[in-house]
């Protein structure tokens, strides 16, 4: 059923695919094909979440563990077509407008159009202007079309995504758009690969969720639908770089961050930590003081409540065209999760409601 081919190529394909919140179909089709290596039980719900279930070996009513990674990437929407054929946009996810100036984009209109987010040339920029940064409302997209042609091909509401091709850096690090959170999709796939034919009592539900970037909306429905005993959101966190708070900065290449805090079931946290130690894999502690910025915030309060964990790799430059992460971390995280799945049994689940 499983084979032993790395999912690096799948990740590259996922990074090349465009899919904003609500327009994840292209990503979903890659995800379904990749899940298909491991199970025939693949389903899609009304929002577009993709579920892949691998049965456990337990007798009777088996425990269920769900691992989730969101498929959507932050995007922009066309809000106006200006004279001259230029486009104005609004957020569909959280961009820092400063990272958009001069960026190449794709405008998903009647046709997919290349576009450039314009910038004023330094030759006509005043010293005063250099001190400020134009907010998103002042940025414009140039599709090199006349107003008439632009109005034929583009409509208000069309999705705009970054046109940033992935690139391989040193040390198995990869840079591009949408590493948030396609790297976590790769983790789910690598996890299934490592799990292979190893026995696990629990049923495993891998879910690729939609619309996380606009408020974990896919996760709300996914948690309710599956009501698993345990849900782990796999999502990226921040890698260290100068000028960042230390407790929110993690080392690339030194294993995933495992989150601890009110959003996390303490026994799930402990099981993730133990899975890392027993598989001799490095991990880092991420402390959180409330609902996390991941699908985990929705899972915890879905239906009667779900025991939730959060894990993920650290990437640099989150929410930009050059998000950078390490494939080593993806593999490490997947190995920890594969071990974690093997430790979920009926008595673990029984313990989740015993405080």
């Amino acid at each position: 059923m499983s084979d032993d081919i790395s999912h690096l190529d799948t990740l590259i394909a996922l990074l090349q695919q465009d899919g904003g919140p609500g327009t994840e179909e292209g990503v979903a089709s890659i995800v379904k094909r990749a899940f298909g290596r491991y199970t025939q039980d693949i389903q899609t719900d009304v929002l577009g979440n993709v579920f892949a279930t691998v049965q456990g070996t337990g007798e009777g009513k088996r425990p269920t563990v769900m691992l989730a990674a969101h498929m959507d990437q932050i995007a922009l929407l066309v809000k106006a077509i200006l004279p001259g054929g230029y486009l104005r946009v609004v957020q569909a996810g959280g961009f820092d407008a400063r990272t958009l100036v001069g960026q190449e984009v794709l405008v998903h209109g009647r046709e997919t159009l290349r576009g450039i987010i314009g910038s004023k040339p330094p030759h006509v920029t005043t010293a005063e202007e250099r001190k400020r940064t134009p907010p998103l409302e002042e940025l414009f997209i140039d599709v090199a079309l006349s107003e008439e042609r632009a109005k034929q091909l583009v409509h208000v509401g069309d999705v705009v995504t970054l046109a940033s091709q992935p690139v391989h850096l040193l040390n198995r690090r990869i840079s591009g758009k949408s590493l948030d959170n396609r790297t976590s999709i790769a983790i789910l796939l690598e996890c299934l690969r490592y799990l292979g034919d190893k026995p696990h009592e629990a049923d495993v539900i891998m879910v690729a969720t939609v619309q996380e970037e606009v408020g974990t909306r896919g996760a709300i429905a996914a948690g309710y639908r599956e009501k698993p005993d345990v849900a782990v959101a796999v999502d990226v966190t921040w890698a260290d770089m100068p000028e960042q708070p230390q407790d929110l900065s993690f080392k690339m290449g030194e294993g995933p961050s495992v989150t601890f805090g009110p959003n996390i079931h303490p026994k799930v946290f402990r099981a993730l930590k133990d899975a890392a130690s027993s598989s001799h894999m490095p991990w880092q502690l991420e402390l959180s003081q409330g609902p996390t910025g991941t699908d985990g915030r929705a899972f915890q309060i879905a239906a009667d409540g779900i025991a939730t964990g959060v894990i993920g790799i650290a990437i640099r430059y989150m929410h930009t065209a050059v998000e950078t992460g390490s494939y080593d971390d993806i593999e490490t995280c997947a190995k920890i999760l594969a071990r974690f799945i093997q430790t979920i049994d009926a008595s673990f689940v029984e313990g989740l409601t015993c405080y």
């Binding site: 200006l82 004279p83 001259g84 054929g85 230029y86 961009f95 820092d96 407008a97 400063r98 990272t99 958009l100 100036v101 001069g102 960026q103 190449e104 159009l113 290349r114 576009g115 450039i116 314009g118 910038s119 004023k120 040339p121 330094p122 030759h123 006509v124 920029t125 250099r130 001190k131 400020r132 940064t133 414009f140 140039d142 599709v143 090199a144 079309l145 042609r149 940033s164 690139v167 391989h168 850096l169 040193l170 040390n171 690090r173 840079s175 921040w238 770089m241 100068p242 000028e243 960042q244 708070p245 929110l248 640099r316 430059y317 989150m318 929410h319 930009t320 065209a321 050059v322 950078t324």
Partner: protein, 346 residues
């Protein structure tokens, strides 16, 4: 395709080797002599022994770029710009470093970890780094050297209707036009100069003009085109698709009115669209050539360029084609003896 090869090549000021290699290979079969001067300018002579005024056509090979000047303990690279780069344009861009074209990215602090109001201010230059994926300083220095240069990592492609996008059209589009002209033959002595270091002060052209000592010179350039509806028309510089732009006055030159009139008259006679460049700042190699030796007659023909000095720029293919037609027509008119200084004087 030549313009694609030229714009995807690396050549910041002082490091024009790759561009020079492409041009040498491209034009060698069409010229009588091809050589480099002491700064690295590539000089191409064609029919120099013919009667008539010697015409120098200039296009600069260099582009704006970055230079690696330090390495942090984290392995991130510190850099400084080579030429006029607005640091605000560097955020979240890909670059290629050194002759091995090692990929790197310039990142920024994630939106989630910013302090309130941080987005209202540009990211200071000293908070921008190139990330090559190095684990630490030692790892970085095993892959790059201080002094390595970097350029934007942008692919040439079509965009919209009749346009192309790439990095460094300033001034690879001029190099392209000059190459195409050198492939033709004219009954006039012609010297093509693919110059170096324009972006750091017209330096290659200064030495080249002295050496060539032309009678007439024309700089082929890319110029500011910022023609959106949100820009007052006096600041737009030029209009895309409006034809090649002729300089009246810029940051360093007042046009030679006689030659400007000659170029305008030639364009009209040959039915070639043109426009006047309407921005006072900026300049080009003609500013240096004009003041060479006892002074040189000539002017500049520029291609309207959107997003100059940014990673992704746009030119109109029609404008490029019309610029080639205009240079061609001017050379024919000069060869026919129709350039007579006095005729165009007041």
């Amino acid at each position: 395709m030549l313009l694609k090869r030229l714009t995807q090549a690396m050549g910041p000021s002082g490091f024009e080797d790759e561009v020079r290699g492409i041009l040498r290979e491209e034009v060698s079969p069409y010229v009588d002599a091809i050589y480099t001067d002491v700064l690295g300018t590539l000089i191409c002579e064609k029919g120099r022994s013919q009667p008539g005024p010697c015409v120098m056509l200039d296009a600069h090979m260099d582009e704006v770029g970055l230079m690696v000047v330090g390495v942090e303990n984290s392995g991130l690279l510190r850099f400084r710009p080579l030429g006029g780069v607005d640091p605000r344009i560097l955020v979240a861009k890909r670059v290629r470093i050194g002759s091995s074209k090692l990929p790197g990215v310039i990142g920024s602090k994630p939106i989630h970890l910013q302090k309130p109001d941080e987005q209202k201010h540009p990211i200071p230059e000293d908070e921008l780094f190139i990330d090559i994926g190095a684990k630490d300083k030692e790892d970085a220095l095993a892959n790059v050297q201080l002094g390595d240069v970097a350029v934007f990592d942008t692919l040439y492609d079509t965009i919209g209707d009749g346009c192309v996008k790439a990095k460094s059209f300033d001034d690879r589009v001029g190099c392209y036009i000059l190459s195409e002209i050198l492939k033709k033959s004219y009954a006039v002595p012609l010297v093509g100069a693919f110059t170096v270091q324009e972006e750091v002060g017209l330096r290659g052209a200064t030495a080249a003009a002295h050496r060539i000592a032309p009678d007439i010179a024309i700089a082929l350039e890319a110029t500011v085109c910022f023609d959106g509806p949100f820009v007052p028309s006096h600041s737009e510089g030029t209009r895309l698709h409006g034809g090649p732009a002729l300089t009246v006055q810029d940051g360093r030159t007042v046009a030679d009115v006689r030659f400007l009139r000659f170029m305008m008259e030639t364009a009209t006679k040959h039915n070639i669209p043109y426009q006047l460049r309407r921005v006072k700042g900026g300049s080009n190699d003609f500013a240096a050539i004009q003041k060479s030796r006892e002074g040189v007659v000539g002017g500049a023909i520029s291609i309207p360029l959107r997003y100059m000095h940014a990673p992704a720029q746009i030119v109109s293919s029609k404008d490029v084609e019309n610029a080639i037609r205009l240079v061609d027509a001017i050379l024919q008119e000069i060869a026919s003896g129709n350039w007579v200084e006095e005729r165009f004087a007041n």
